[in-house]
Symmetry: C2
Subunit: 261 residues, 2 copies
């Protein structure tokens, strides 16, 4: 793979874009359009939908990379792997270094609250944070590919510009969720609401009389804190949660000392 | 699906077992053997290896479940999905309720430090914690299926018994890693070491002259804290990290207030 964009060649920031809905999704097309107004863009995104992949990586199979667009300030690759694979491959074999900013999305569907843990979009942003790249995941609270993404444009551009300028705290990326409304009230920095999914499976028989199961469920949020992402979104604000990858329950360390032997 | 094991029928605890190496791996066979000495066991594990799946769930495809063993105090199912799918399906469609304990593993390979984020084994335990089930992920620091798992037996049984008796702090599961040694010194409660992977890809050409990429890399740990899992493991101890799913970087909330609009 050639070095496609060298930092020395351009004073514009290099922005790496990925997602989990796949390279053809309207959300990533919209994000590309916005980011091209502020930087040189390299897209490395899954060649098919990879929703709910969590922080999956591909280790038991080789990955494929197809170079689709090769313009001066805009490159596009599709990748056979997960969103995390896309980030790793982009940094190691396409950019040969770190971009100035990584943005993931715009995801079609919420990644607020507990959804962050299942989210391929956010796993790409978290992988960016692990690799010390200022990283933001964007999601809108609607699965429809027809949704009007424009009302959030000024906020997406503003937060991207600020993060480009100031960076983010160490080991932290941003989980940005966008409510569906024509009149967004603003952007609030929040904590992750402690909601969860009450799962249910459709149980059906296939034409060969064998059972199959299809996941469905209902999101439950009993965490009514006004400092949460769910509160912000319900009240017409974009939510921005600083998101990290130290999973230690530090507050619980002393509570489980009795397990030591 | 019938209610396979009803709590009323048995005073022994019901222990749900899963993993990410697949139902045929020696690690899960060993864990089953141990857990059957302290409870009635239901195994719901992937029908194929699902390593590095992170917290992936299957939503775009139906799931299959095969009932393999149906003894009085021991049931075994293989599932076409990820470790998280196994937990969700077990709770919803097999147990029709929560088990008294969920154990995942024994994983062949470390899930200490940053590995927790990529781990299917730990994602099953985290899913357990989300569903308020006392949950433990076990891993041994060797990929070989021939490794002697017996030196850790007494610690695995002891921690499982203690968690059955006392539970775990709210929204917390345990990430237990086992060093490869005949003489384990003990079990230490630790925090997750802030290591990372320096990735590299093998880049090769297939027989049709197309490139493919295969992930490899080197684990780097600059976090030398004696309170970390990596320190414990290097010094002959089993590590137990209380692990949670609030990804908010609480310490960073005030640092990024300037992003608000």
């Amino acid at each position: 793979m050639n070095k496609m964009i060298k930092k020395e060649k351009s004073k514009r920031p290099i922005i790496l874009i990925t997602n989990d809905d796949g390279i053809m999704a309207p959300g990533i097309k919209h994000l590309i359009k916005l980011m091209r107004t502020i930087g040189d863009v390299v897209v490395v995104a899954p060649d098919k939908p990879q929703s709910a992949m969590g922080h999956a990586i591909t280790i038991a199979m080789p990955l494929r990379l197809d170079h689709i667009v090769a313009e001066e300030n805009y490159k596009e690759y599709s990748c056979s792997g997960t969103p995390v694979d896309c980030v790793k491959l982009a940094v190691n074999n396409i950019l040969h270094g770190k971009p100035d900013l990584l943005v993931s999305g715009i995801n079609h569907g919420s990644n607020a609250s507990i959804n962050v843990i299942y989210s391929g979009t956010m796993s790409a942003a978290v992988e960016g944070a692990i690799e010390n790249i200022p990283s933001i995941g964007f999601s809108i609270l609607d699965f429809s590919f027809d949704i009007d993404l424009a009302p959030a444009d000024k906020y997406i551009l503003s937060v991207a510009r600020k993060v480009l300028k100031n960076g983010l705290p160490l080991n932290t990326c941003l989980n940005v969720n966008i409510p569906v409304t024509k009149k967004i009230k603003g952007l609030k920095v929040c904590r992750q609401s402690l909601g969860y999914w009450a799962d249910e499976y459709f149980e059906r028989k296939d034409p060969h009389h064998k059972n199959y199961y299809w996941l469905t469920g209902k999101f439950i949020n009993e965490d009514k804190g006004k400092d949460t992402d769910e509160w912000a979104l319900k009240n017409g604000y974009i939510s921005a949660v600083p998101t990290q990858f130290d999973f230690t329950a530090h507050h619980a360390l002393s509570q489980i000392k009795h397990l030591e032997e």
